[in-house]
Subunit: 281 residues, 2 copies
């Protein structure tokens, strides 16, 4: 690969650039971004070889384009790409939801050169200053081709993901979204909700946060993530997340009912079920 072009050099885009440069997966890694400061920082940190603030110029002669911005901008940029891409170029994205993006890709790239993807390697940190060349090692990188996706394009993106150390998983875009609704989006919602509740209660019980130990820290860790980013993800995966939140509230409703009855057996059953599932995960 000659030119790997990354649009958005934050945590994911910056880490991908570092990893691709470190492993020499491309002759040149180009970063595109709207902020000159971020691009300068990405250059300094060794995340990219070249910076481009002009979208059309940056895309020129790209072999592989990776869209690594928040979802609303991925959708915008996806629409601008077909007119600019060189023949033979392939495109992927790293958005946390795939149904909406895959449908847009099918509409915009009838030749199937768009491969929707999702490296599951985020963190509550963000920005290129948090980027790491080893971010994807052993991480799961979901690829969600549609029937229209060109198998050759899929192979090239799969090679890129594996090249930076990830384990790839192929999934239908909607199956992906239903899955991450439970394993990623719901955990973020639960963390925000718990932190918000504790914050509210600490206003009347100041000692409350003194009593926050390890379980609270783990349960709220990802509430440190960007609220704007997660609003966008929640809206983009609204149907599946709504289903997951409802299912979860129903499960918690069983705990509530067991506590009301003082039913230790029912509590034990549910705790054991969770304990076993956790061990199997």
């Amino acid at each position: 690969m000659k030119r790997l072009v990354i649009i958005g050099v934050g945590l994911i885009g910056g880490s991908l650039g570092m990893a691709a440069r470190g492993r020499r997966l491309a002759q040149t890694v180009v970063g595109i971004g709207r902020s000159a400061d971020t691009l300068r920082q990405a250059l300094q940190l060794g995340a990219i070889d070249e910076a481009a603030s002009d979208f059309a110029t940056g895309i020129q002669a790209a072999d592989v384009v990776v869209l690594a911005t928040p979802i609303p901008q991925i959708l915008d940029d996806l629409a601008r790409l077909p007119a600019l891409l060189a023949p033979g170029a392939v495109v992927t994205d790293v958005g946390s939801t795939k149904g909406e993006i895959a449908r847009a890709g099918d509409r915009l790239f009838p030749g199937g050169v768009f491969v929707p993807g999702h490296p599951m390697a985020g963190s509550e940190r963000s920005g290129v200053e948090a980027a790491r060349a080893d971010l994807f090692i052993e991480a799961t990188w979901a690829l969600t081709p549609t029937p229209q996706t060109d198998p050759e394009a899929l192979n090239r993106i799969r090679d890129l993901a594996r090249g930076v150390g990830a384990r790839t998983v192929l999934l239908d875009p909607d199956a992906h979204d239903r899955g991450v609704a439970v394993t990623s989006h719901l955990p973020h919602v639960l963390a925000y909700a718990l932190a918000a509740l504790a914050g509210k209660e600490s206003q009347t019980s100041p000692a409350l946060l003194d009593l926050a130990a390890g379980s609270f820290a783990s349960a709220t860790r990802v509430a440190g993530s960007s609220p704007e980013l997660w609003r966008d993800i929640a809206l983009s995966n609204r149907t599946a997340l709504l289903r997951a939140v409802r299912a979860y509230r129903a499960t918690l409703g069983e705990v509530e009912a067991a506590l009301e009855r003082g039913d230790g057996d029912a509590l034990l059953d549910l705790f054991q079920e969770g304990n076993l599932a956790r061990k199997g995960a």
Copy 2:
């Protein structure tokens, strides 16, 4: 202190023994337990100097007695202690709930030598094999005296907690229980419920657990804890936990309603509230 007697040498009791021995807080640390294997292991790991399988013999000549078993056994042992204690001895416990235990202590120790306590230093691991001499360093150790508690007894237990490196906090037993319902017991319930839901859904969507990344691991970490222990804690703090579960389900209900309406502003408000509270914690 001559003899520090620890009833129950698991994670907490064993770590306390190691820390007290390492810092020479007592001439002799005695472990009492029902399992000869556990006592032998505690001796080998350096958690205790002497083991006693007979309760009455072990308690003889104790200066400080620490009840470090699950809550039901703390309540049983508390009732047996007054007849066996030497004059001048003080007693504390490490149970995760305090209201029920403090009321039993007031009834059983009219002289006020029982000081209810709760070191917030557990983990999803358990047993003396997980014990560590540094477990309490920088940990919060809640002490929940009642109006009846002897101030001198309180000072001695406070010295012990500080002596092993903990930061002590004084609280009313019921305020403690309302606090930990939100900051510790609710996080455990949420983790069990999320792991149970994911386990159930993975039966029809086998790819689901492939999509479990860092946020799922954090959110379910404490579902690795003993289900029996947490059933006991949940029942012992039933009223406060029920209140916390209801409040949490109501907060999640706001997320559900916002998702139903596609209301990004409401989602952002709640996520920002959680994000801020997390940073303040």
